[in-house]
Amino acid sequence: SSLFIYPTKIIIKTCGTTQLLKSIRPLIHYAFNLGLTLCSCRYTRGSFIFPKSQPSPHSSFKEEVIYLEETLPSNLCYRKASVMLSKLSNHNWHVFTAGDQEIPIDQTLFTIEVCMTELDRVLARKFFRRPDDDKNSDAAGQEMTELTGIDNIIPGAIICDFGFDPCGYSMNGIHDGDRYSTIHVTPEDGFSYASFECVGSIYDDMDEFSETLKKAVQVFRPATLSVSTTSSSHEVWTRVANAIEPLGFKCRSFAVDEFPAAGSVVFQTFTSRRK
């Protein structure tokens, strides 16, 4: 899981049975003490593998939306919740956004959220700690970063990595000043999962962006992946498909929706042709 704190922006991403939405009230409180007021909120997630294990307020998307509606301040009056469907069972994208009409969103930035399941078993094994390793979790994480080629996804990025015991991996990358990337891995066979997320600008070199995405997917070679892009530009999601399909994937579904205080969200799912 990851937390990124900018002067006026917080991104928090957690897995397992964490109760993420419970962070909203205290964050609004601490921000208020610093003279800051909430002006937009975006909550996203895929379909849980084990939905019945999720505690309140995450037991269903309906419950999450009710909690958000009740928790967010009234100045965030432009609100929308939507489930973006795919043709693959259990691969839907859940989106809630809320924004203040007075504060415009930055339309130059985009966010890519990649969710990968059924990881290549040989590659997934690299995210298990060796039973006899006497490394601490930072050293184990660093070894996984180098062994898997994660350190080559965004050359020059400062990487903060962590290898969980007995398995699992998380890393945050810092690059190009104010950009982040993050990877989280659950490698156990039967419910293996990896995510990759990064931010970019529509003014970035899009060839470079495509290469980054390709390299991230190749670290895991999943059987199924979904990509959500939040952007004002159509070029971003087009680039996603053009980067992923040559890796042996076929696009199975495509959905697009507009959200206040976020822009366009495009949700694409792909499956490996080798499957």
Binding site: F4, T8, I12, T14, L34, R42, R45, I49
Partner: protein, 63 residues
């Protein structure tokens, strides 16, 4: 009933703030570690590693 495995799919929250007269240009980065731990305690995770630069702070969390 079979015991489920670990839930990998993440929940992601992005919050933006503004201030006419914020306390500092550092803004939210001034939230101290004790307060952050209270937030993360509500979520049920903890900080396991961190790094930062002049623009932002990044924390790896448990779970």
């Amino acid at each position: 009933m079979a015991v489920p495995g670990f839930e990998g799919f993440e929940k992601r929250l992005e919050l933006h703030f503004f201030g006419d007269d914020p306390v500092s240009d550092m803004g939210l980065r001034l939230i101290n570690m004790e307060s952050l731990e209270k937030v993360l305690n509500a979520v049920q995770c903890t900080v396991v590693s961190s790094v930062g630069n002049q623009f932002f702070d990044a924390y790896v969390l448990s779970e």
